[in-house]
Symmetry: D2
Subunit: 441 residues, 4 copies
């Protein structure tokens, strides 16, 4: 069976590279993955998958950090111009850019969910000849957007698996859900798919990331280092006034913001674990001689546990509201992203470890990694699956990187994608051996 | 007529010196003038005045900055021990230490109100031989209280006038109200006498201060330099917690206070005039390793006009409340003193100027002084009289000072008291010539 | 004589309107007045004036707020494209856009300096049909720059006077210096002309502003309401770091800026007069999860007197430097503008009042106005002249405005320009009657 | 051998109870242990120990938080009045209240150091009949000082061991140093004994605490939970001024302090471990209408490691100095206490565990405890010994408490003292078996 896969994967890999480069050339940032998601749906349908899409898999109200209507419209149009599938585009319009492909074998076995994130970053891609995408002609044509975190590869891995599973479905059991998620950057999208019920029937869940410092040929079965986090955008709105003639008529949004910043950074540490707060951006005021009437802040909180993060967040909100009251300005607090910290299921991690040890491209398997590596909203999905009695883990498939994630020169060794497909396929193939209590119920 | 007064005043002056030294020896700070007020009432009654006292002339609820019950009790007892009049003491108990003596001539003429403040300061008096009260045996026996602002002289001038008017009442017209006010320091007392209606029928109002930088032999008819002011005591109350083990359980009153202080000092200037804010005292916390659960602040606001002061005060209250909310602590804001800025009536100032120019001890009369000289709550009374259509002014009777006001070595040349009596008596004697519209109504 | 002028002025006025509309159509903001200044020089030379220009009248090092080299280059090129005089352009390159035209009659009499500012504002001009410049085809062709403060009219008045004086030079005495100043907006240019010695020999100085709330037909001889002011640009530079992984490696420029803002607004009031401080703009940080490494602030200080302004400025600099030290970040403080408060010479104001009362278009002459009207750097020139024993005043020539100064719909009734020329010409014609002590020396 | 000890300890225990109650009745806080230390020295000498005392064991300059001279004098006198040993008192005067008793067996073996702290807390002891010391007549006679942390018991344990070792010295090897330390509260004293060289020759070091939540009958061999900490007293000194008349002449120490407090609490978290900062006390200003000229703060920093604590401290000092500069006030920073975090030597902990398991009063032995329990300056001694290649551990001997440490009702079950003596004696008796590399060198 393994040999058979190897041959199929080799064939599919050539296509995956094409797909990945196409996605790389047409990057779309969070909630704007109109072209990407419509093309994913097109392929899934072609390979015989049941396709769920748009509002079927995205709860509109649970989305965070959705761009304004005007931006959505522009990018829908651009997607169309760049070859989006017109039929599926209708479904994902308005920022509902999620797709799920379902393959139900009708044979007994667990329901396995695999998550692939599709969004790009707001970044201008490097254009020097040493940058492979530039040299080989697949540099971003969407200036100011770039796949600098590898989600183009994630999407390709998802499609590679989709094609593979469609070819070997006779050998599969249970049900497979391939979950293509929008807006992972800024941890904005996963919650809305959970809220739409996508994870409700999933017994075994796996998400993967490529790269993140793990060398090509190595694989981490369970990456536990994600912190709970909340991202908030804050606007203080006051009243402008001439600073020389009648300063008393102003309500100073910049001054309120400055006071809030100091007090936010002063939120007390928590005895139960590490916490963080950062005001990363502050823009306020229009002119030197005007009492500033507007101040905008970008803030994030983190915690070792959801409780610690929640503590920091609750204090931050009190400070923002109290400071607004103190300065008699309005404050608008918008939660634009949120992720959890979750422990990977030990049992599943060990199962993955065992399943993939025969893959020849993988020279070293790490059961765990606890290194802090920012935040990830697949944790929402993991938490959901675990709370239903299922198993969940977050793996890392190593590859060589040209530069760090979120860097304008980021690029991957595409071989990592092949390893990713093999590893996940192997887990799925073995999954009937996995003893999932919930699945038995 | 003038000659006659001069002779009488000379006689009375000897007594005034005795009274002043007795008051100086037994200073009583604001709302604790139990001995002083009871003795004033005793004398007024003896000289034939109708005496109104205690709650008749003090509206309990309009008092500000009244000491705690226990302190009131202690000082009532001390007053008794130091020779207070037991009959009148009953009336002024509980911090109702105001007295008004009324002389109604039944002849047509304006109702003239004269204000004399009686309270001392919380200050330890100097005890070196160069300090006259120490050398001559009338240094304060109430350690920690001292007449360092001349209110002992003010009270004596009031009593001197009372005795004089009782002797020359045949030559007087209209009605005279001698108003002995408690708690001028901290601008706490005048409001309560206004609220009790003491000023309701007053057509012409004069208050005087001795000293304040004006040399002996000079007199200022209208001192306009008082700023509007409000004094507030603030307490933030949080929750203590061990700063090492569980800082997150604390609610930090000191941190809230620090933030409030910065924001208070940052209240914007006002385009319509000078303003001030000062946090003069801050005490917070009990131990180095405890999240502080309490912080106490003493604050004052000022403004060129009541509107400017009100603007600063309103902003301060917003900041205090908003900051409490930001830090999830309680805040208690207590207004413990308040005074107005008022323009002296030009017509009355000129009338005083004319009336006193024949007094030989006065070598120089200044119509106006606009120099800022802190705050004064007789302004409450002035505002009341003026709003009723009457006339009001605030004069300064010059004298030589041993040291500045509020200094532990403060002392006056008592001759200033004699001049004060002559000046005010002359205004009263001339008052029938004063054309007060309201009086005619 | 007056009649003669009237006729000449009428003729010149038609040209002035043309000039003004040409300047309005080609606005150039501070230090970029390449086209304007070269055309002014061209005309002055044509009319027989001695022309001093560029570094002769601008001290490079005393300039404030000069744009970067690249911007200078771009605008020099644009000026050339838009018809600048190529000969004179050479002199004003690099941001030395000042011109002085000198008419020396060789006859005894004072040296009179008249100041005209030439710069536009960075503002997009209104484009609706109700906006006269748009309707009549002289709306700004330099998008993002606009004459919205009337300096186009000031320059035209200066040229109108130049032409007039060249025609009537037989009737003039003394020496006339027509000073065309760059970069008045932001109070950046006057200091550099004073430093270059332009005012050293001036006995009588007059500057004028058009509009500012004074109706058409009225004239203010002495506008005293300008506050001392300093404009500063501040950059805090820290070290970026990932806010989740290693916040301790960052040096937080945004946090430093926030603390500075609070402390700046908390600078104490001054007992000698009104003061102001405003942080009008703050921009800091690049990403939500990055410790911000840069923060830029635009600040201004003001004071009733230079001393009060200097007090606020000195405190602000201490706060900026101390806060940088507290947060271990670098701070760069750049003074980009400065102006003084100056009392107009009473004698000269009265002389102007008398001189212009026969001008029929002026229905009402105001000797003084003390209304605060922001800041103006002609005050530097006034101070220089006065400190040399000369006389100086700042007048306002009323006109009807379509909208307030600095508004995108600002426009003037051009008749005000004619009145301005008549008024200033009359003062110059009368100036031999003016008794200037310094001139006699 | 064990049996013999048991009998001796039973005898000594009766005395230990007496000593402990005597110390409890005469508590002396840090650097004031004049009576305590002189009586300890008296006993050590009587039992044949070489006594090192005063400046022999305390480096004057390395002391932290020493009370003022006047206080030292008063308490020296009181100690004398309360029965201090007059001979030894001479040595400990001036706050040099440390004693070391040395027993050199002249037989081969390690040098073992045992640390006992002697100081009391500044606390008023409870006086209700339920409080055993009150009921039994050994409540503190030094009002405002109280042994509420068990150091009276620690001193008694030290003396108990001293007496025991003197009785069984034939069975001992190596050298024993009984180190009686002053001023552990506030972590002020240990550093000065290290600096005096007391620990230089110590191969094996043990310190013990009684109580701290461990039940009677249990023993913790290695308590690792101490945080690094630094205690600092800070004074800002500005210039007072009348807040109404000339606020610009003041330099506001309270405002500087408030700004410092906010910025101190805003010091960034450290990626390598937990940190803390607390401003526990702030007192500033004298009067409502005076710009405050003085502000005093009590601050502490903590860190999981010395590096993290050092990071917080370094930032705090930058903030304090920078803020002083910003507000043009003086700042005085006084380090009044300091302790380290130290890992107990695993080898020694296991040796203790093994040594004490036969003690019948000990029902449960815990090898480690990592629970955070504040700070302890024996860590200075431990670090010194370990850096010399020796072994060190910090044990906890359980006992029943009437109330928590530092509580006014604190009291111990004295049986804990007996267990403490047995445990430490057993370790010393076994110590020849301990393989200390350094000792062999």
């Amino acid at each position: 069976m393994k040999l058979e896969i190897n041959g199929l994967v080799e064939e599919i890999y050539a296509e995956m590279v094409e797909w990945r480069r196409d996605f790389h050339k047409h990057p779309e940032s969070g909630w704007l993955e109109f072209r990407t998601s419509s093309l994913v749906a097109e392929k899934l349908e072609a390979w015989g998958y049941e396709v769920m899409i748009g509002k079927q898999v995205i709860d509109s109200n649970a989305r965070m950090g959705v761009p304004p209507e005007e931006i959505l419209r522009q990018h829908e149009q651009r997607a169309l111009n760049q070859g989006a599938n017109i039929k599926w585009l209708e479904f994902v319009k308005g920022g509902h850019t999620g797709v799920v492909g379902i393959l139900d074998t009708k044979r007994p076995g667990p329901t396995i969910g695999l998550r692939f994130d599709m969004d790009a970053l707001d970044l201008v891609e490097a254009n020097n000849p040493e940058h492979v995408p530039a040299a080989m002609g697949f540099r971003s044509v969407n200036e100011g957007m770039m796949h600098a975190c590898g989600h183009d590869a994630h999407t390709s891995i998802g499609l590679g698996l989709a094609k593979l599973f469609s070819q070997i479905q006779d050998q599969l059991s249970g049900k497979i859900k391939l979950i293509f998620q929008p807006a992972e950057e800024g941890v904005r999208g996963a919650k809305s798919m959970v809220a739409a019920g996508v994870l409700d029937d999933v017994d075994v869940f796996l998400a993967n990331h490529i790269g993140t410092g793990v060398p090509l040929g190595e694989y981490v079965c369970a990456n536990n280092g994600y912190l709970s986090t909340t991202k908030i955008d804050v606007t203080f709105t006051g009243v402008a006034s001439h600073a020389g003639k009648c300063p008393e008529e102003g309500r100073n949004a910049l001054l309120a913001a400055a006071s809030a910043v100091l007090n936010l950074h002063g939120i007390s540490r928590h005895g139960d674990g590490n916490s963080r707060i950062n005001v990363g951006v502050l823009n306020a005021g229009t002119g030197r001689n005007i009492i500033p009437s507007s101040a905008k802040l970008k803030i994030e909180t983190r915690g070792d546990t959801p409780e610690v993060n929640e503590y920091i967040l609750a204090n931050a909100i009190n400070i923002l509201k109290g400071t607004a009251m103190a300065h008699q300005v309005e404050v608008n607090i918008d939660i634009v992203g949120e992720a959890k910290s979750v422990d990977c299921s030990q049992e599943l991690a060990e199962f993955v470890q065992e399943s993939i040890q025969t893959i020849e491209e993988i020279s070293q398997v790490h059961l765990h990694s606890n290194e802090s590596s920012g935040s990830e909203d697949a944790t929402y999905m993991m938490e959901k699956v675990k709370s239903n009695g299922g198993l969940a883990t977050y793996g890392v498939v190593g590859t060589t990187l040209a530069a760090g994630h979120h860097n304008e020169k980021f690029d991957i060794d595409e071989l990592g994608m092949k390893i990713g497909v093999k590893a996940l396929a192997q887990v799925v193939l073995n999954s009937t051996k996995l003893n999932v209590k919930k699945a038995l119920v």
